[in-house]
Subunit: 354 residues, 2 copies
């Protein structure tokens, strides 16, 4: 059980959440504890699997979402937590139980925010997107999210506002040829050799850098895998280059796809995965208020986050959390206690408007 | 047991040898039968593992080698043999029991050839060269081979003289880079992109065609495999292109290596395998006699064969066998009965000198 004292202290609450093991697929216990804590408040609580939605019903003119996932990547000799010299170490400290703890702390201790708030605690963010609790909620009960005008995802940003997110596409570019014995190679057609212009175009490619709402989005078009070959004495008849395109949110998925097709014009191209980016939405009044509360300039989120799921629903959003994003999924994952305290204060100032 | 009648008929002998299963590593029975047949002759027979050497001791001014391997690639629903419409089907018919049968038939039925003859029947040609019976014999008892001035390997050539063989080298050309998250690709260095010039040089490469003793050797420099990539969201830090160089026998291994190093100048290159080619040696008097016996022009052997092992010992050699080399290792492997008869007649004419 999460006691009143623990819920009142975002650092203690972070520690308590980290010490409930919740590797993706195993969120039952942490979800029970979170539901229990929220049920003791005035919030309207609903549970869907291991995803919990808690809403203020204060008839404010505007509603905002605060969201955090409950799961972690697999443990790696980094459980339970350990605190030393102002740092808390352990699986999920940065990604993202410190952020989730801030949201839960505010849900329990801030009964009268200036905006209505929808708190969302969800499961399975670290695995297949088909299992993602926020995705499932957005698919089945979108009305619980779409009545908000703004969302904050408490993913690690090291205490800075990170606007929107990049889109990402995975693309297979293929060449084909004709097998032959390598001792009589002129009877075949070498598919690996034919991939030369694909790599050449990637090497020559100049990435676009786009500034939106003061956030600099750096794109990237990269081969992440290449495979080809049958046997040591056979001219290969196929070569596949797997490419990852990370694109700025001023392109939608169709525009991104058209761009990739243009770059690899003349080649056999298959799009195997696509997720849209999200515009930073920093011109939203609630975003401006949160920016003012941090007192620091925003930057772009370089990576894909669930902010894009809000964008698809028409809800602009940003990322703001105490952890360092570069520590996510690492064995030496940790979070600065001071960043947790500061993050909770910023969010409270914002919700109180003072 | 191989009866006298079977040994006297190269077609029946081919069938008998095909019907003794002898996938590489399982040559005990076929070697026993061959040894038994040879021991009933005047030949001097020695056995080393499943390799059998049988020599005439006629004090002729010149000695020649006739060699054939006893093993086959794995069966593939093509055992035992089946004869229909002048074709014998089955594993090992073309590669190379028809050729081996011709050598064994001559060993048993030709007591007074004009040259002394060393017959070699050996195991494990279709596997790792370390297990190759001819290689082991050449390493341990080279004197049994080096007193010959000329060798005929009865590998499938479809009844033509195929001179010498190409050399072959396997080379790894590597690029390295620096890993990074693909959402922040500019922090890394993409090793796959850096492989562009390797493929480009391969694509631009113009193969040399060299004519030696009337045989046209067509070289080939080919990527046979390419690998690179860590995960779908990671900038890859290594890419490896495996290259197979098939070179004409006017280059020795050192010259071939120097050429490959020149082509890939500036790249990290590792030679993992190298086998020399063999010059056709068609100016040897015994070769001229055999050419005359076939009455057909020679061509180059495009591929690597054990002829190169004789070349290394200073014994020029050529390939001559009834099977079609393009059927080797195929499920529908077969041999024309007429080619077996014709091959045996050519070889006999040559050995008799009439």
């Amino acid at each position: 059980m999460l006691t009143r004292e623990v819920l009142a202290d975002p650092v203690a609450l972070t520690r308590a959440l980290v010490d409930i093991e919740s590797v993706s697929g195993n969120e039952a216990e942490i979800a029970d504890r979170v539901e229990e804590a929220l049920s003791a408040t005035e919030l309207k609580v609903e549970r869907f699997g291991h995803t919990i939605v808690a809403r203020t019903e204060l008839d404010r003119p505007q509603r905002v979402v605060l969201a955090g996932h409950l799961d972690t990547v697999p443990l790696h000799d980094n459980f339970p937590s350990r605190t030393e010299d102002g740092l808390m170490w352990g699986c999920g400290t940065a990604d993202m139980k410190a952020g989730t703890a801030i949201a839960l702390h505010l849900a329990v201790t801030e009964p009268a925010p200036r905006h209505d708030v929808t708190y969302v605690f969800y499961d399975c963010e670290e695995v297949d997107s088909a299992r993602n609790g926020l995705k499932i909620l957005a698919d089945r009960s979108p009305h619980l999210l779409t009545d908000a005008s703004f969302a904050v995802l408490l993913e690690p940003t090291h205490g800075l506002i990170e606007g929107g997110c990049q889109g990402t596409q995975r693309v297979m570019v293929r060449t084909s040829g004709k097998r032959a014995h390598s001792a009589r190679s002129w009877l075949g057609e070498n598919a690996i050799h034919k991939a030369a212009p694909i790599l050449e175009r990637l090497q020559r490619y100049r990435e676009r850098i786009v500034t939106i709402d003061g956030c600099e989005y750096h794109e990237g078009l990269n081969a992440v895998r290449i495979t080809g070959g049958v046997a040591g004495n056979v001219i290969p008849d196929e070569c596949v280059v797997e490419i990852n395109f990370r694109f700025a949110p001023d392109r939608d998925e169709a525009a991104a796809e058209a761009h990739v097709r243009e770059v690899f014009d003349g080649f056999d191209i298959e799009f195997v995965d696509s997720a849209p980016g999200a515009l930073p939405g920093l011109d939203a009044p609630a975003a401006q208020e949160l920016l003012a509360a941090t007192g620091r300039p925003p930057r772009a989120k370089l990576g894909w986050t669930d902010v894009a799921r809000f964008a698809v629903l028409g809800v602009p959003g940003l990322n703001f959390g105490p952890g360092d994003p570069n520590l996510a999924h690492k064995q030496d994952e940790h979070v600065e206690l001071a960043k947790i305290v500061e993050g909770a204060e910023v969010m409270r100032r914002w919700l109180r408007g003072s």
